[in-house]
């Protein structure tokens, strides 16, 4: 049995009367690539935002590397309108801000690229290294952490070389072609030294060739940084190619779990997502 890196228990996110994610239970084993798929509006990105601390869940628990990083139960007004399951399973509230969770070793990218557009490619990665800084404000201001600063710069340069962006070091992030911006966003996430990488539609807007490159890229960084990967994706080919396990969401509910083959042949999935079965 592999070690479980990320686990959610009965994770539910409700906005007003809408239950965006309902009773999500996932287990992500170490070193695997796990995918979360589903039609538009199924609640995939919401699930990501809850896991990374962007939203406080309405109910349920998120466990990362054995530590509870988020837990909640319906309270106050939500008690009355709660529409999910297991309303009284949890009793505590644990809230962590996204920056804390990132420092615990979980990094993410965004569906709509969120680079620091006006800064250079190098600065984008260097900034992500800031979360691992040891020097305090005064030491950093007076350059008493020279060795640390140098190692931050060296590591950033090294990382950009690994992902093949070394010739763009001093270019503005916004001037990169689309595919490379995606790659830079992944590099920036890697700079925070994560053990779990969450990719939100990394292949969105890519052509088949770029998608293929991305698949091998994800696999190569997974190996070289010994990562566990959790991704949301629409490109079926990519998902089927690289994922070890797939969760399928529809209207917030998990409708199927399994390997690519199992999911592909699941009638509920075909109905909800892959379209009408061919005769």
């Amino acid at each position: 049995m592999d070690e479980i890196v990320l686990k959610t228990e009965h994770l539910t996110m409700q906005f007003g009367g809408v239950v965006a994610v309902d009773d999500l239970n996932i287990e992500i084993p170490k070193g695997h690539i796990t995918a979360l798929i589903g039609p538009n509006g199924a609640g995939k990105t919401t699930a990501f935002n809850v896991i990374t601390g962007g939203y406080v869940p309405t109910n349920g628990r998120v466990i990362f590397q054995g530590e509870i990083i988020g837990e909640n139960h319906p309270r106050a007004k939500m008690k009355k309108i709660y529409g999910g399951k297991d309303r009284s399973h949890f009793t505590r509230q644990v809230v962590n801000t996204p920056d804390k969770i990132t420092r615990l070793g979980m990094a993410r990218t965004f569906q709509n690229i969120r680079l620091f557009k006006d800064l250079t490619v190098f600065e984008n990665v260097l900034i992500a290294k800031h979360c691992r800084i040891n020097a305090g404000l005064l030491r950093a201001t007076f350059r008493l952490n020279r060795a640390e600063e140098r190692s931050m710069r060296d590591k950033s340069r090294e990382l950009l070389r690994t992902v093949g962006l070394e010739e763009h070091l001093d270019e503005k992030a916004s001037s990169l072609p689309y595919g490379k911006q995606r790659r830079l966003e992944i590099a920036r996430a890697l700079a925070t030294e994560p053990s779990l990488l969450l990719l939100d539609e990394p292949a969105a807007g890519m052509n088949p060739k770029e998608t293929e490159e991305l698949a091998s890229f994800i696999q190569s960084i997974k190996e070289s940084f010994s990562l566990t990967v959790f991704l949301i994706e629409h490109h079926m080919n990519l998902v089927m190619d690289i994922s070890d396990k797939i969760y399928v969401l529809d209207y917030g509910e998990t409708i199927a779990v399994g390997t690519a083959k199992e999911v592909q042949n699941n009638p509920a999935v075909i109905q909800a997502y892959l379209g009408v079965e061919e005769a």
Binding site: T52, G54, T97, P98, D99, K100, T102, R103, A107, R108, F110, R114, L115, F116, K117, D118, L119, E123, L126, I127, A128, K129, H130, C131, R132, I133, A135, L137, A140, T141, F142, R143, N145, E149, M152, R188, A189, A191, T192
Partner: protein, 376 residues
């Protein structure tokens, strides 16, 4: 490639600047206007840079500068007014006895302390402002953009109202303000004459801010400016970094406020009204939001044109016996406003944008012009 040349150019211009200041020190008579404008510019440059740290580099639109300046100015003034002048200053309601006792006690301390005391006063004023910023920041920094601006604006007004309230008559002299504030002290045992002091203090402070901006923490500020959500996802604590930026900005604003008190020799709560914040915002915008050298440059240009270069518009002008209309008191500000509009229209992102001054850029411009001429 040109680093050596650039260093030499920088050293030469710094030396020229220092030379000019010392020359002014020895030729004070007749240059009063120039001295006072340069001093005011240096002080406003420090406020503008500290405002830029918050508004331009961290992306927090705050309008509380005048409030923090008033804290620095009042603390410095109250601490520095000499015992012998107390009666004259607090002529309306008398001074609070504890202030008098404190000042008499100070007078008994050794001379080395007396010479350092003005700097302690400045730093104490700045520290008090920083502490207030830290406390207020917990509540205010949850707000974003316009709402933060309104909250800080309110804070600035509250501080002003407190200083001018009759309950504080014995300390701040209420709405009468404080005067007989000693001028700039000498530094380093007279090595730096009092005339040069504001420039030295301002330069040191701006340098500290620049060093902060260039450190890893400064890069984190930039990240917050660019995209808060992405910055937070990269492990940057928004609250911590916003607070640090707010506190440091307030610290240096208040320090500049203390310098302003020494410069003006008399202050009242009205000095630190919202209009002062707008003046500084103007400097920041004209210089370029996110450019330190832009702020410094703009503070000199704005102050000089407002108070010196455009003076002649305020005097009646005779052209060959024809009295030009419009040339009377106040016309200067009309011209100044028109100039501002022109500058903003031409330089959409301020004089410097988000760039910093560099010799390469300046020399590059010369070269291009030469080449253009040669080609034509």
């Amino acid at each position: 490639m040109h680093t050596r040349r650039n260093t030499i150019l920088t050293i030469i211009s710094a030396a020229l600047l220092v030379g000019l200041l010392y020359w002014l020190h020895f030729n004070r008579t007749g240059n009063g206007m120039l001295i006072s404008i340069l001093q005011k510019s240096a002080i406003l440059a420090l406020v503008a840079v500290s405002m830029n740290l918050l508004n331009g580099f961290t992306g927090l639109f705050s309008l509380g500068q005048a409030g923090f300046m008033s804290i620095g100015a009042y603390v410095t003034a109250i601490l520095l007014i000499p015992v012998s002048s107390l009666e004259g200053v607090y002529y309306m309601s008398g001074v609070h006895p504890s202030i008098r006792v404190f000042k008499v006690f100070l007078g008994s301390l050794p001379p080395w302390f007396q010479s350092l005391y003005p700097f302690f006063a400045l730093i104490l004023g700045a520290s008090i402002a920083a502490i207030i910023a830290a406390i207020v920041g917990v509540a205010v920094l949850r707000l974003k953009s316009d709402y933060l601006a309104i909250a800080t604006l309110g804070l600035s007004e509250i501080i002003r109202a407190i200083f001018s309230s009759p309950q504080l008559d014995g300390v701040t002299n209420g709405s009468y303000g404080l005067n007989k504030i000693p001028g700039f002290p000498k530094m380093f045992g007279g090595l730096v004459p009092s005339l040069v002091t504001p420039f030295v203090i301002s330069a040191i402070c701006i340098m500290l801010i620049v060093m902060l901006i260039r450190s890893s923490y400064g890069r984190a500020f930039l990240a917050i400016r660019e995209d808060e959500i992405a910055a937070e996802a990269m492990g940057i604590s928004l609250f911590k970094h916003k607070s640090v930026s707010f506190i440091i900005s307030s610290f240096f604003s208040a320090l500049a406020g203390g310098l302003l008190a020494m410069y003006m020799r008399s202050i009242e709560a009205k000095t630190f009204s919202i209009a002062l914040t707008y003046d500084i915002l103007l400097i920041v915008v004209i210089g370029g939001i996110g450019s330190v050298t832009g702020s410094v440059l703009a503070s000199f240009l704005v102050t000089a044109s407002k108070e010196w270069w455009l003076r002649f518009f305020d005097q009646p002008l005779d052209l060959f016996g024809w009295q030009v209309p419009l040339f009377k008191t106040g016309f200067r500000m009309v011209i100044f406003s028109i100039l501002l509009m022109v500058v903003v229209l031409i330089y959409r992102r301020g004089l410097m944008g988000t760039n910093e001054f560099s010799w390469d850029r300046i020399l590059g411009r010369f070269k291009r012009r030469k080449n253009a001429k040669g080609g034509a």
